[in-house]
C-alpha cells in the first residue's frame, strides 16, 4: 500500500492549505523549529559529551541526564509539533524527497535509542567507559542524521 494518498490528503487539508498560501506562516513555524533545534541540540550534546568524557566532566552523567531531560523532552515536543505543521504544507514534495525518508527513519531510531539504551546507560551508577562512549557516538550520529536530513529537505 502506498502512503502517497495520505501525504496528498495532508497537503490538501485546511491546515496544509493555510500554511502554504500564507506568506508568513511557514517562516514563523520554521523559526520555532530552529529554536527547538538549538535546545534539543544542546540538551543532547551536553549529556553525550559527558559520556565521552568531555565538557562537564565534574558532574555525574546521571545527574546531567536528569537535569537535561525536561529540556530534551520539551524541545522534542516543539520540534515534532512545528515539524508536523511544516510537513503538512509540503507533504507531496516530502514524499518524493529521499532526505525526508532518511530524516524520518533516523528520527524514529534516535528517539527509540535515546529513551531506551541511552537513558539506561546515562543513569547507570558505574557505567562502563567503553559502553558510555559507544552509546554517545551512536546518539550523536543518529541525531546528526536527523539534522542533516532535515536541512536537506529544504534543498530541492
Amino acid at each position: 500500500m502506498s502512503l502517497l494518498p495520505f501525504f496528498e490528503f495532508c497537503e490538501h487539508s485546511a491546515v496544509g492549505e493555510a500554511i502554504r498560501t500564507s506568506s508568513w506562516l511557514f517562516p514563523v513555524i520554521e523559526s520555532f523549529h530552529l529554536l527547538g533545534l538549538v535546545v534539543i541540540g544542546g540538551s543532547v550534546l551536553v549529556v553525550d559529551m559527558r559520556l565521552l568524557g568531555l565538557g562537564l566532566r565534574g558532574q555525574p552523567a546521571a545527574q546531567l541526564a536528569r537535569d537535561a531531560q525536561r529540556w530534551l523532552v520539551g524541545s522534542l515536543v516543539v520540534m515534532l509539533a512545528s515539524g508536523v505543521l511544516l510537513f503538512t504544507s509540503e507533504a507531496t514534495k516530502c514524499y518524493y524527497h529521499a532526505a525526508f525518508w532518511v530524516k524520518m527513519t533516523s528520527l524514529l531510531l534516535a528517539i527509540l535509542f535515546t529513551f531506551t539504551v541511552r537513558r539506561k546507560v546515562a543513569a547507570a551508577d558505574k557505567p562502563s567507559p567503553l559502553l558510555s562512549k559507544l552509546v554517545a557516538m551512536a546518539s550523536v550520529t543518529l541525531w546528526s542524521a536527523v539534522g542533516i536530513g532535515g536541512r536537506w529537505i529544504g534543498f530541492s
Partner: protein
C-alpha cells in the same frame, strides 16, 4: 551616511574596480558590489554543492555553539544543572562554544561573501548584526561585573539577579538572532 541607492549594473565605475585585487575606498554598498564581482564570490554563489553545504554547517553548528550556550544560560537562570558550580559550567563549556562560534562566524562570512549586496541591504541582516553586537556587549558586561564575584555564589542553585538578567538577555537576543538569520532568506522587503 551610507548610500543605499548606487545602481550596480548602471554604474560603470565598478566595472574596472572588479579587476583590482584590493577594494578601492568607497561606501559599504560599493564595497559589497566590489566583493560580489570577485571570482570567489561568483563561484560560491553559483556553486551547486558548496553553498548548500556551507549553509548547512552554519545551521547545524547552532547545536554546538548555541545549544551549549543555552545550557550555560539555563544554569545562570537557575533552571538546569543547579548542583554544578557556575564557574565549572562556564569554564568547561567555553572551549566548545568558542569552537562553535568560530565555525559560525567562518561559515557566516562565506554566506555573506556569496551574496553581499542583497544581504547587506536586507533589513533582517542588519537587525541580526545589531543583536549580535548587543549579545557581545551582554557577555562583556557579565564578565566584567557580576562574574568577578562568582566565587561567592558559585554553588547557589539560583544565582544573583544580575547573573540571571545576563542569562535571560542572552537567551532573548540569541533567539532574535536565529529568527532574524532565518528571515534573511525571505525577500519580503527587498
Amino acid at each position: 551616511m551610507i548610500d543605499y541607492h548606487v545602481a550596480a549594473s548602471a554604474d560603470s565605475r565598478y566595472d574596472s574596480i572588479s579587476e583590482s585585487f584590493w577594494p578601492p575606498r568607497m561606501s559599504i554598498t560599493g564595497f559589497c558590489e566590489w566583493l560580489a564581482n570577485t571570482p570567489g564570490s561568483i563561484a560560491l554563489h553559483e556553486s551547486l554543492w558548496v553553498y548548500p553545504i556551507v549553509e548547512s554547517v552554519h545551521v547545524l553548528t547552532l547545536c554546538l555553539f548555541l545549544g551549549l550556550t543555552v545550557m550555560l544560560d539555563l544554569r545562570l537562570l537557575g533552571m538546569a544543572f543547579r548542583s554544578a558550580r557556575v564557574s565549572e559550567v562556564t569554564k568547561r563549556l567555553l572551549p566548545w562554544t568558542t569552537a562553535g562560534f568560530v565555525m559560525m562566524v567562518a561559515s557566516g562570512l562565506l554566506l555573506f561573501y556569496a551574496i553581499p549586496v542583497r544581504t547587506f541591504q536586507n533589513i533582517f541582516f542588519r537587525l541580526k548584526l545589531a543583536m549580535l553586537l548587543l549579545a557581545g556587549l551582554n557577555v562583556w558586561v557579565f564578565h566584567s561585573t557580576i562574574y568577578r564575584t562568582v566565587a561567592a555564589w558559585d554553588l547557589d542553585t539560583v544565582p544573583p539577579k544580575r547573573a540571571r538578567v545576563a542569562g535571560g538577555l542572552s537567551l532573548a537576543l540569541w533567539a532574535g538572532i536565529v529568527v532574524a538569520g532565518r528571515m534573511i532568506a525571505y525577500s519580503w522587503f527587498d
